[in-house]
Symmetry: C2
Subunit: 342 residues, 2 copies
């Protein structure tokens, strides 16, 4: 970094900075009628329904700039919001991004964040249509709002699961959590011995933490398969916590079969190395941004060839009872650890 | 405050906190199909266009909790966003609110912020439909996204002003800036002499700073008068800066007549007392949240009886030239000081 040009943000000012950061963004969606540059953006959804969600990421709470590159941070801040739109079985079309920056950030640093935002906008085909950029007394805060569209009959809420429905999850679980543990370990070593080069290893786990992806492909697959889940949410807090939301809102219970919970081999092995129980990582880890959903039993055959989707359990009548059937055949209540920020 | 109950946020947790804060909010708009409680809210605008804007307020930058009551802060955070929606000649219908809170905030403190948010939602008839609540390492950050609707032909952008159009502004200017000066002065006195009770006086100026209102009434008036401005924005940075945006986007210039710039008597007198030039306060003060707009000359008669609207100048052909004609008949370039956060 030492040879790169650094420009204090004060040199450009707010409006100069926004122009500088957004000059390469072009609009991709016909629903984007007016983008950045007025008091508000203007959207046109004709007869589609509009889906909207927002997330706020704070330095030191959701990310640590010691190991999170700024470009990845910009990318991740968009992806986690798009994931919420996909979790409604909707397609994201626009984002708004607000940043609060402390004075230690230069124009080049903010440009890195925007490079990540731009990359995510391109990968997922969404338009950046507005935001706010301001200073903060300390730390970086990123607030993203994502807007999507869907036909009314396709929207999937959290409250539609029925007893007998099958519980499914995409991809694999627990990797992002273990990626974070590795990054935290290397940070501690580096703080104690600044000369030591990090031995990160295990790129898959680290990538799952630093550059997660939202499951656009699964929403497209649902369309192809003509499959509409009965309930769905994205895995942000860990499925233990996410299942409780789904069960509470649907007024049902669930039983998860440990043997069917998808855990990548490297996740499993690293968990044991680091003295974690792999199933606890998978259930409580969080930040996987996979989709957790329920389907009617008659739709199960549609998933026969889908290796990216695992059936991990069944919805029961016992409201709010979330049970894990272990590999040894025992039954445990699943305890959600969820959100530990406060 | 000392006798009031205080509850650490950790006692409720994120989901408990959100439930506690939002239990009294009910939906008011038929366009709100699904509110808080899923991955995203769902909106239905039929054939109307959707207008969307976002603002981020950071402690120590946009507000100082030494003199800004939390309830007012919640109220103001909503109002400044609604003001952007009105500035499009649209009607706000929904808001999303994200908060980053440091550990010094209790449940009661956050409830005060939400009491202000709720009051603003009731006054302006908007629905709170989502958000995110998280912790921060230091300081309070509030990010608000507001969504509104309008028929396409009624939306007013910043780029429609034509030479010969009249420049209008609502209400009066400079009061919010002076309110801030008074609050800052009393804060300094209090820090030096903690026993001294503040002599605030001048409630109008302080109210304009602590509890601004958005000009819902003016948008309704436009409808009654069948008047569509040619360009419009809200006065957030001060009209000197806001006029420059309007002229730049419309590729025109403007000439403002000092004698017609609306300044309340108390603003004028307090400015002189505090050694400020009243016209500088009015042009550069900011945070008035009035509407600055241009109209075709033939529409002027529609405004004859409207005491809340002042005609303060005219649009010229000289692109980007913003001129002030002083009371003494001299001509000056208007210099925008605008946004000083970085």
């Amino acid at each position: 970094m030492s040879n790169e040009k650094t420009t204090p943000i004060s040199e450009l000012g707010e409006f100069g900075l926004i122009e500088h950061l957004t000059k390469n963004f072009s609009t991709k969606n016909s629903s984007t009628k007016k983008s950045i540059g007025d008091d508000a953006a203007v959207l046109d959804y004709g007869t589609k329904k509009t889906v909207i969600t927002t997330d706020l990421l704070a330095e030191g709470i959701h990310f640590d700039l010691m190991y999170m590159p700024l470009k990845h941070l910009g990318y991740k801040s968009i992806v986690v919001n798009l994931s919420d739109v996909y979790a409604m079985n909707a397609k994201p079309k626009q984002v708004l991004v607000s940043l609060a920056l402390s004075s230690r950030f230069t124009v080049e640093a903010v440009s890195e964040i925007y490079a990540g935002i731009e990359h995510a906008c391109n990968v997922y085909g969404v338009d950046l249509i507005g935001g706010d950029t301001t200073s903060s007394q300390s730390g970086l805060v990123i607030s993203v709002t994502a807007i999507g569209e869907a036909d009314e009959e396709n929207i999937v809420y959290r409250n539609g699961a029925k007893p007998g429905d099958l519980i499914c999850v995409t991809g694999d679980l627990g990797a992002a959590f273990l990626g974070l543990q590795i990054l935290e370990r290397e940070k501690r070593i580096w703080l104690e011995h600044p000369g030591v080069q990090p031995e990160l290893g295990n790129e898959y786990l680290i990538q799952r933490q630093l550059k997660p992806e939202a499951r656009k492909d699964i929403i497209e697959l649902f369309e192809e398969l003509n499959l509409k889940p009965t309930a769905m949410l994205d895995v942000s807090d860990g499925i233990a916590s996410d299942l409780k939301h789904l069960c509470k809102q649907s007024n049902v219970g669930c039983e998860i079969n440990e043997a069917t919970v998808p855990i990548a081999e490297t996740t499993y092995n690293t968990a044991l190395e680091l003295n974690f129980d792999p199933i606890v990582c998978a259930l409580n880890g969080g930040e996987d941004y996979e989709l957790l959903f329920t389907i009617s039993p008659e739709d199960e055959t549609k998933l026969t060839n889908e290796t990216e989707i695992s059936v991990i359990g069944i919805i029961t009548q016992n409201a709010n009872e979330t049970i894990l059937k272990t590999k040894s055949g025992n039954y445990h209540n699943i305890t959600a650890q969820g959100w530990k920020h406060f």
